[in-house]
């Protein structure tokens, strides 16, 4: 049985609630169009059911430790297709074992989810540094990034605290998603956003871009040149939106 949901966390919990009913035999939980599914695998469309989702979430919070819950939430933001069924099995094991769950670090149903969460957490941390704002006309600060995982909601609180007096937008153009911060209300929100046309840069933006590029050029110590280490620390895919690498 394949359970299809709408991609939200509440939707996932709704699907998980269905999948743990007695007699259910979940093979996958997904928000994608079923491609070549096995001919005999039934697809169940699960509409998001707020009440059921909240009920399950309350049970999770009562049973899982905060650390295990964070692992689950981070893993849910992973970009990997197929993550949901792993998270579902992790969740079932956690609900069944309760207090003993945290010590089961080497369990085959814990490891893959823990790895997903670690990858997401690492990427989110990394992007706290790699988000790069440009100042646009109208006093808006705009940053584009193309992360592997859906980390926007995970990094938004960091930027909301740090740039509390800036109107900023962090945009994931590949997924068509953005988080937008309103300094007047000190709130951020997720919103769909498509990329359109060239950015209307503010008057001072070119100056700072140039200052930064020239500063960066001077930083490397010639005697310690080590492009391999540089690539290891900062893979090429992360350089696309960084001005010091001359890209847009």
């Amino acid at each position: 049985m394949i359970y299809r949901y709408d991609g939200t966390f509440a939707g996932f919990l709704s699907a998980a609630a269905r999948a743990r009913e007695p007699g259910a035999r979940p093979e996958a939980i997904t928000d994608r169009e079923p491609e070549q599914q096995g001919l005999f695998t039934a697809v169940v469309e699960v509409p998001t059911d707020r009440d059921r989702a909240e009920e399950l979430y309350a049970l999770i919070r009562r049973t899982l430790s905060p650390g295990a819950l964070q692992t689950l939430r981070h893993a849910f933001h992973a970009g990997d297709p197929g993550r949901e069924i792993l998270i579902f099995r992790y969740l079932m094991l956690g609900l069944a074992t309760g207090r003993d769950f945290d010590a089961m670090l080497a369990h085959p149903e814990v490891i893959p989810v823990w790895k997903l969460a670690r990858a997401v957490g690492r990427e989110a941390h990394r992007y706290k540094g790699l988000v790069r704002f440009r100042h646009l006309e109208g006093d808006v600060w705009y940053a584009a990034l193309e992360p592997d995982h859906r980390i926007l909601p995970l990094i938004a609180p960091h930027f909301a605290a740090r740039f509390a007096d800036q109107r900023w937008i962090i945009h994931d153009p590949r997924r068509g998603e953005a988080v937008v911060f309103d300094p007047a209300r000190r709130e951020w929100a997720e919103t769909p956003l498509e990329a359109t046309g060239p950015l209307p840069l503010s008057a001072g933006e070119e100056l700072f871009r140039n200052l930064w590029q020239r500063y960066f050029e001077r930083l490397a110590i010639a005697e310690r040149r080590n492009p391999k280490l540089q690539r290891q620390n900062l893979p090429l895919k992360h350089r696309r939106h960084l001005p010091e690498f001359g890209e847009t």
Partner: protein
């Protein structure tokens, strides 16, 4: 000479500052109170330079002019270079401009000495004050203290900055006298001592009243040049241990000597700077700070230098084979930490995981243990993983690093802060 543009001045002043390796922006958590910026507990890198180093802070000199003439320094008086100076408002505006774009975590401001140490300190204080008070900047600021400055100025600076540092540069008094004749050991140690006192005292006072402004909440640090004055690793490590213990030093940085001047007092360095030695010193430092090792366990008069082809923890283990193997299901945390191939994180995970049942050898790699090294030193449920019983000579051959790991320096900064919950430690220098 024609006026230089801001960009040209920035280039010159970045050039003069880049040899200082201490770029850690961690260890301070400053909340954003009604302005811009905060200091994150866990270091954040914003880019990586062509030498692989993390870019975290805007690292510049206020000026590259200097009245002194230290042999190893690009900015020394006798060098024929173009001298420029930034005004305190220029420093503040550059910092804010980069910070708002999220290109930096904050500012690391160093300087040559203009006119007098006190005059220079006043300029540093003014730049820092403008950032904090006019721009209401709550991001990270690390400022150098000028050796020989009035201790009252040192105190004013520490009230504004997150971290202050005074570079010791030369580990021995003789080295200092030879290579930095204008700076006395006392001119360096007096402000260090004062900073240490104020850090401890302010912490106590703030327990009583939060109204008292913090003093260098991210602590003080210093830098030692390695390989410029013939000092031994024992001298360096012993000095570092003393700095950590007595002067409330938060970090000691080691910088492999890079000759930038021709000077007969300096050693002739051919080829690359002593990076492997620098790396081993970071590892030894790490062992002292996080693994509970004492300086005397790593080095002594008979063996005053670290083994370049073996990490110092493996070296210690080989000299203490009678303590091994240890049983992972019983050994306490401190003992686990001393096993080659087990780091802070894997030791913690072992302690946690074994509450859920006895661990087997197969469980260890899943907990992050590097079995390639640990196999010779542990048993699990009494079973030993290696094919040979530990015997020093054979073991040494197996633990040798054929090509010593390319130093991944500067990354230790990521470690401080601890509770950030994000797992970065495995990517860090010195974790063994």
């Amino acid at each position: 000479m024609p006026e230089l543009t801001l960009a040209e001045k920035l280039e010159i002043l970045a050039d003069g500052a880049k040899y200082d390796v201490s770029c850690a922006s961690s260890g301070s958590s400053r909340r954003n109170r009604d302005g811009i910026g905060n200091a994150a507990q866990c270091g954040i890198c914003h880019s990586w330079t062509a030498d692989g180093r993390c870019v975290s802070l805007l690292k510049i000199l206020l000026t590259n002019a200097c009245i002194y003439d230290c042999a190893y320094c690009v900015n020394r008086r006798s060098n024929d270079t173009r001298r420029v100076i930034l005004t305190p408002p220029e420093v503040a505006e550059l910092t804010i401009g980069f910070y708002r774009r999220n290109a930096i975590e904050g500012l690391f401001l160093s300087t040559g000495v203009v006119k007098t140490p006190d005059h220079t300190m006043e300029l540093l204080i003014e730049a820092t004050r403008l950032l904090r008070e006019e721009h209401r900047f709550n991001g990270y600021i690390h400022v150098k203290v000028v050796p020989g400055a009035d201790l009252l100025l040192v105190e004013r600076l520490g009230r504004l900055a997150d971290r202050v540092s005074i570079n010791m540069e030369l580990p021995t008094r003789e080295g200092l006298q030879l290579l930095a004749p204008d700076k006395s050991r006392e001119a360096i140690v007096a402000p260090m001592r004062r900073v240490g006192e104020l850090i401890v005292q302010t912490k106590e006072e703030r327990k009583v009243s939060r109204k008292i402004p913090p003093f260098a909440p991210a602590g003080q640090s210093t830098q030692l040049i390695v390989g410029a004055a013939g000092e031994s690793d024992l001298q360096i490590v012993t000095l570092a241990a003393g700095l950590y213990g007595r002067l409330a030093m938060k970090r000691v940085y080691y910088s492999a000597f890079i000759p930038v001047n021709r000077d007969e007092r300096l050693p002739a360095v051919v080829g690359t700077p002593p990076l492997v030695r620098e790396h081993r010193l970071y590892q030894a430092d790490w062992l002292m700070r996080y693994y509970g090792f004492a300086a005397g366990e790593l080095l002594n008069e008979e063996r005053p230098n670290l083994d370049l082809s073996l990490d110092p923890k493996a070296g210690w283990a080989l000299r203490n084979l009678h303590l091994f193997p240890v049983e992972v299901n019983r050994a306490d945390y401190e003992t686990l930490l001393r096993v080659p191939g087990i780091g802070v994180r894997s030791a913690q995970r072992i302690v946690r995981a074994r509450r859920g049942g006895h661990l087997s050898l197969d469980d260890l790699p899943k907990l992050g243990v590097v079995m390639k090294r640990a196999r010779y030193f542990v048993t699990a449920r009494g079973r030993f993983a290696a094919d040979l019983a530990p015997d020093a000579a054979g073991l040494r051959a197996r633990l040798l690093e054929k090509t010593p790991a390319r130093p991944r320096w500067n990354q230790p900064s990521l470690f401080e802060g601890g509770a950030a919950g994000i797992d970065l430690r495995s990517a860090i220098t010195g974790e063994l």
